[in-house]
C-alpha cells in the first residue's frame, strides 16, 4: 500500500457504525514489523508466536500492552503468511541458484533476508553468501548483533563491497566529478573503508576481503592505491567485474572468500552483550562502530529505554541512522570521530524482538517518485502488459 497519503490518517469517521475514531496509518510492507518478524522467524510456530507478541496499543492505563494475540489476530495472520515463510528459489542468468526472500528495511528494521532462507541455503550449499543492507556500520552490525544472535548463525567471513566512486565521494568530491581520477580525494575517502574494515576485524573478530565493484572509468592508479592502502591493513582487495563478465568476473573474489572461510579462525564476537542495558548497547554501537564520542537522549527516551531494558532483557538494538555517514549527520563524510549520537526516539518491536533506536532526523519511510509508476503501466487488447519496468 505505497501511497504516501495513507501514512498518517484518521479512521472511523461517521459515528458509531464505523467504529471508534482513531489516528492510524499504513506502513509500506518492508517497513512493517510483520516483515521483520517474517524474516526472523525460524518456522511457522515461531512466526505465529512472534505475530501474537506484536503490541498494537496500550490499555487506557497507558501501561498494559495489548498484543495481537489478545485480539486473537495472530492465527489468521500466520495463516495468511504460511506460504510466504517458505524460501523462494530463483536462478541467475547463468542458471546458478539463488534465494530471494524477505526485505525488511535497513533503518527501522534489520535489513537482512529471512532466517529460513539462510538456513535452507546452509543445508544445500557449501558456501552461502548473503547480503546485509546499507553500509557495514548498519548492515553488518544488524546482521551479526540481531540476526546471527537470534538464529544462532555463525558467519565465517565478511565481504566488504566498495566502489572507487563512493570512496572519492567520502574524500570530498562532488557528485558530478566522481567519474574523474582523483587520487588525493580517494586517499582521504579511504578512511571510511578502513574504519569499516577495522570494525569487522576488531569488533566482530571476522576475516574480511574488500570487493571493488568495478566501474569502467576507475583508473589503474586508483585501483592500485586502494590495494596498497588496504593491504597495509592486512585486507586483501579484489576487483570484481561480474557486472560485465558474469560469474567469471567474480571468480577471484569467490576464491578469496572460499579461502578465508576454509581457514576461519573461530567464532565471531558481538558488539555488545545481550544482558547489557539498551542504553549501553546503543552506546557500544555508537562508540565502537560509529566512532562517536558519546550518546544522548531526552529524559523521556532514556526512561523508556530503561523500562524496556527491565521488561525485555536480552532484546538487541536496531539502529535507525542515516546510511550516508558513520555519524548522524548525512553530510559528515569519511570516518568522523568525536561526534555525538542523539537518540530522538525509541520504538519497541516486540514481535520482531528488538528495540529500534532512531538517531538523527532520518526518514523511516521511503519517498515516492514524482510521477507514479502506474502512469506508464498499460495492457493491450490481448492482455499483454507494458510499462512495468
Amino acid at each position: 500500500m505505497n501511497d504516501r497519503a495513507l501514512r498518517k490518517i484518521v479512521v472511523g469517521l461517521g459515528g458509531t457504525p464505523n467504529g471508534y475514531l482513531r489516528e492510524d496509518g499504513f506502513d509500506i510492507v518492508v517497513a512493517s514489523e510483520v516483515m521483520a518478524i517474517l524474516c526472523l522467524a525460524t518456522d511457522l510456530k515461531d512466526l505465529k508466536e512472534r505475530l501474537g507478541r506484536i503490541i498494537i496499543g496500550y490499555k487506557t492505563d497507558g501501561k498494559t500492552p495489548i498484543h495481537a494475540r489478545d485480539l486473537k489476530a495472530h492465527g489468521a495472520m500466520a495463516a495468511l503468511l504460511k506460504d510466504a515463510i517458505k524460501p523462494n528459489l530463483v536462478q541467475t542468468l547463468e542458471n546458478n541458484i539463488a534465494i530471494i526472500h524477505g526485505g525488511p528495511f535497513a533503518n527501522i528494521a534489520h535489513g537482512c533476508n529471512t532466517v529460513t532462507a539462510t538456513r535452507t541455503a546452509l543445508k544445500l550449499a557449501d558456501y552461502v553468501v548473503t547480503e546485509a543492507g546499507f553500509g557495514a556500520d548498519l548492515g553488518a552490525e544488524k546482521f551479526i548483533d540481531i540476526k546471527c544472535r537470534m538464529a544462532g548463525l555463525n558467519p565465517a567471513a565478511v565481504v566488504l563491497v566498495a566502489t572507487v566512486r563512493a570512496l572519492k565521494f567520502h574524500g570530498g568530491v562532488r557528485k558530478e566529478d566522481l567519474n574523474q581520477e582523483n587520487l588525493a580525494a580517494l586517499e582521504l575517502g579511504l578512511a571510511n573503508l578502513e574504519k569499516h574494515a577495522r570494525n569487522i576485524r576488531e569488533h566482530y573478530h571476522l576475516p574480511c576481503v574488500v570487493s571493488i565493484n568495478h566501474f569502467s572509468f576507475d583508473t589503474e592508479a586508483e585501483i592500485a592505491l586502494m590495494k596498497q592502502k588496504c593491504e597495509a591493513l592486512g585486507v586483501q582487495v579484489i576487483v570484481a567485474k561480474h557486472w560485465a563478465q558474469g560469474g567469471e568476473g567474480a571468480e577471484d573474489l569467490a576464491k578469496a572468500v572460499a579461502s578465508l572461510v576454509d581457514t576461519r579462525p573461530g567464532r565471531h564476537q558481538f558488539v555488545y552483550d545481550e544482558n547489557d542495558t539498551l542504553w549501553n548497547k546503543i552506546e557500544a554501537i555508537a562508540t565502537k562502530i560509529y566512532g562517536a564520542a558519546g550518546i544522548s537522549a531526552d529524559p523521556k527516551v532514556r526512561q523508556q529505554l530503561e523500562q524496556w531494558s527491565t521488561e525485555f532483557p536480552g532484546y538487541p538494538v536496531c539502529m535507525a541512522k542515516t546510511q550516508m555517514s558513520f555519524s548522524t549527520d548525512a553530510g559528515a563524510r569519511g570516518a568522523p570521530t568525536g561526534h555525538h549520537v542523539h537518540i530522538r526516539e525509541a520504538r519497541l518491536a516486540n514481535g520482531a524482538g528488538f528495540v529500534v533506536a532512531i538517531a538523527g532526523d532520518m526518514m523511516t519511510m521511503p519517498g515516492l517518485p514524482k510521477v507514479p509508476a502506474a502512469e506508464s503501466i498499460d495492457v493491450d487488447e490481448n492482455g499483454q502488459i507494458a510499462g512495468l519496468f
Copy 2:
C-alpha cells in the same frame, strides 16, 4: 478491505510529504464502481475504457470532471484486472459445470454476474440460468433494464424463487412463528408474489415459473394454496428440493423452464425507454414495478438528475432500495400501493454507465459480524489452516 473503520477516513495528515489532506474512504470490493464495471465490461478493451471513464472528482470549478484516464490510472487498473475478467469455471457437487464470476451489490450496483460469464455460458450450453440479486423488483429489473440492455442479452424466461416462509412473513407472521402452518397469512402474503409475477409478465413480457424453495416444515396445505393462487394467474408453481436431493430435486423445475424457453413468444421489453429522462425512468420503475403513487426528491437532487439526463443520455437507472418491501419502508409487507418513493440522493457511476438513485434510508454498505471472522482462523505447525468456514 472489509474494516468498517476505513469507510470514512481523513488521509494525508502530517504535512506536505504526505500529500494533500483529504476526506476519503474504502469501499468493500463488491460495492465499488470497479466491480460494477468488471461485471458489465464486454472485453478487456471495454474494461479499460470504462475504468478510464470513472469520475474521481471535480476540478475546483466544481463542474469539470476528472476521470481516471486523466490521471493515466486506467491502464494500470486494467492490467491488474486482466485475469479477473476471465470467467471462472467451477463444478457442482454433482460435477456439473457452473461459472461463478463477479459480485456487484444489488443495491448500489446492479447485482448480476459478469457479462463475460453470461456470454461464455451462452456459447457453451443449450440453457443458461443466471441469478439476479434480491427480490425481482430489484434483481430482475436491473438484470433486464441494465445488464440485458447494455450487453444486448435476450432472456427467454424468468424463474421466480419463493419460499412459503417468506410469503407468510409478508402476510404478517412474526419471525419466530414462521415454521408453523398459517394459511390465512400465506394467502395474504401471496399478494407479494403475485405482484412480482405480474411485473414479469406485464412489464417485461416474459413467461415465468415459480420455484418454491422447499423447507421441511412447509405443509401440504400451504403448497396447495400457493399452487392454486399462482395457477389462477396462469403461472406454474413447482416445488424444488435440490437442497436435499441435488439435481434430481430440481428436475421438474428444469423441465418446466426448458419448456418455457423452447416456446418463448418473442423478445422481452424494458420498463423504460433509454431516451427518457432519468426522472421519468425512476418514475416508471417506481410506479410500474413498485406500485408507488409517485416519486419525489429535493430540488438539488432533481436538478442533478436533470443535468445528468442531458450530459449522459441513455444511462439507465440503478435503484438502491430496501429489499424488504416493494416500498422504501422496510416494514411495509405484501404488495403496498399508493406509497411514495423519495429519492434522497443520486450518484453517477460513469464507468459502469448508470446513475444510482438512492431511495429511503438504506445502508449502502453491509454490516459486519460482532465477532471478526479472523478470530477463529488459525494455522498449525504443518501449515494446516482451520476456521475458514
Copy 3:
C-alpha cells in the same frame, strides 16, 4: 466563531494528552441551542435548568442521554450568561426606546427575540411590537406555537409586512424587472399574501393588518390593487414610509394596530395541540399553514419522532424550511398547494424544549461573504477604527 472551516472538525488529535479523538464542530452563535435557550428562558433559574438539560451526546449504549448537567457544566454556562439574559435597552434615531435582545435563527431555531425582553417591554409600554423572522409561515407560526405557548404570551394582533416588489416576484417577475410596474404579476403574486393573511385569521384567530414597506418605484396603481385585493379579504392595507419619514411615516400603521389591539376579540389559538404527537404537529403545520397535501419521512426519522413524542410529550415542533416558498421547493412561488413536505431529519433541542424538523435541502448555516469583512477593518495610530460597516 464565524469561520466555515470550523463547522465540521476532528479534535483531540495527538494522543492521550489531547483527550479523546472525536468529530465535532462549531456553530455560529445564532444557530446554537444556547441562543435558543437564552431567548426562551424566563429567568436565570430557568436559564440554568435549560442549559443543564442540553443533551450533548449518548452513552455507549446509544440510548442514555448525557446532559450538560451530568458534566456539571450548566452552572458555569449560566454564570457566563448571567448578564446576557438582561434585556438591552437602546433608542431609535428619534429617541424612542427599543429593546434589541437575542437572535436565534429562524430556520433551526424559532427566530424571535428573548422572552425576558418581551415581558420587560410589556411591563413598560402600552403597546409592544415585536418581530418574528422570515415569512409568516415560519416567523408567525413559531412565535405563536413555540414562544407564546412556552411563555404564556397572548398577542393581540398581527402586522403582516409586505412589499410590492416581493409580491411581483411571487407573481413570476425576474429580479431585474421588479422595479417596473406589472399589475398582472402583482395580482398573481398576491395569492401569497392572501394565504398568509388567511393563515393568521383562520389558524391563529388573530386580527391582522398589512403594512406595505414602501419603495419609491411602487406605483399608485400597484398600491391600489393591493388595497383592493386585501380589503376584499377584510384586511386593511397601510402604506408605511418610515424608511423615509421616520416615525411620522408609520403613524397610520400605528393607529391601525392600536385600534386592532384595543378591540381584540379574545385569545389566539394554536395550530396544533401540545398533546399531539410530533408527527401530527408537523402534519398540522404543513397542511394548514403551508397548504401541503401531506408529509413524508424515512422510517428512521419517523421512528425517531415517535420515540421523542413519548419521551418528551408537549414539545413543540420547530420547522426548518426554506423562507422562499410555502413549500420546500424554493422555486415554487405564490401559494402552492398539493405539494409534499418531506422531513429529512429531526433534531432534539432538549434545553430549548423543542424538536427541529428539517424539511427539504436547506442550509442550517448561513453562507459567508466571498471577501471576509475583516479585510476592510483597520485601526489608525490614534485608535480610530475604520471599515466596520
Copy 4:
C-alpha cells in the same frame, strides 16, 4: 480557549462549502505569538506592523512566507487589540499602584509583562520593579536579551528571589522532607543560587540582591547559612516577609534595591551580540548561562537556524527549556556542568521578532487540572457567582 482537545485538530471537513481541509490547532492565549507581540509592541502602530509580519504559512513552493498582512488580517487584529495594549492600573491591598499587563509564556515566549506597561511605569515612578518568569536562567536572560534589547530598556539592578525550600530541593531533599531543617542539603543546593548570582554579575554586569521569600518553617541556621554563602560572593541577602507583613515585610529589601539602583555602575551587557548567528547565540546562552559543555541539533534544525540567521539578522533567541534545572534534564539539580543542550526544534515568531529554540522534551502547552474548574462554578437566582477561586 483552554481545551486540550483543540490543540491539534483537522478543520474544513464536509467538502467545498466548509473550506479547505487542513490540520490546525488552538493555542492558549498566553502561548500564542499574538501575546508575545502585544507584550513587545511599543505602540499601536508597532503592534499593527508586528501583527502583519506574522507568518501564517508558506506558499506551495514551501519557501515563500505568507504573512498576516498578505491576508489583510492585521488591521482587524490590531483593531481588536487597540484597548488591550493600554496598560492596566490596579492597586495592592495597601493601595499602592501596580500594573498587571500581559502574560506571555516563559518557555515558548519571553515571559515578561508588556513594554507599554514598563515604559508607563518608568514615567510615573522613581523606582520600577518588574517580574520575569521562571528561574533567572530563563526569566532574566529573556528580559535582558529580548525585552530590554528590543525596547531599549536599561535595568539598574536585579532581585534574585529564592526560597530555602527550593534550595534544599536542589540539594537533593525529597519534596515531602522540605519542611525540615537540612543544612547539608542547603549548602549543596546553594550551588544553584550561586550560579544564578554569578550569571547576573558576570554576564549582565548588573548588581544583584537575593531576596529570601520567607516560609514559617525556615530555621535561623538555614537563613544564616544562606547569608554567609551569598555574602562570600559579595551578594547581600535579605529575608522578605511581605507575605505575612505586607509592605513593611519588604522594607529592608526595598531599601537595599534602592541603594543598588542609586549607585548603579553603568549600563548592563547582553549575553550575545545581536549580529551573531542564531547558532552562536544559542551556544552563548547554553555555555555561559546554563553551564553546558556545548549544543547540538539535527542537521535539519541547524540548516533552519542558518537560513533564519541570514533572513532575519538581529533576531534574538527565545529559549524553551525546562525551568527545573540549568540543563535540559529536569532531574539534574544544583548547578550541573558539562551537560549537552540538544535543540530539537526551532520556530520563527516573525511578528514577535525572535526565534524560539526548543531544548529537550518540554511541553510547550500547560497541562489542565483533572477536574475542570468549570465544574465548581455556579450562579444563583440573584446572579451571584460562586466557585471562581
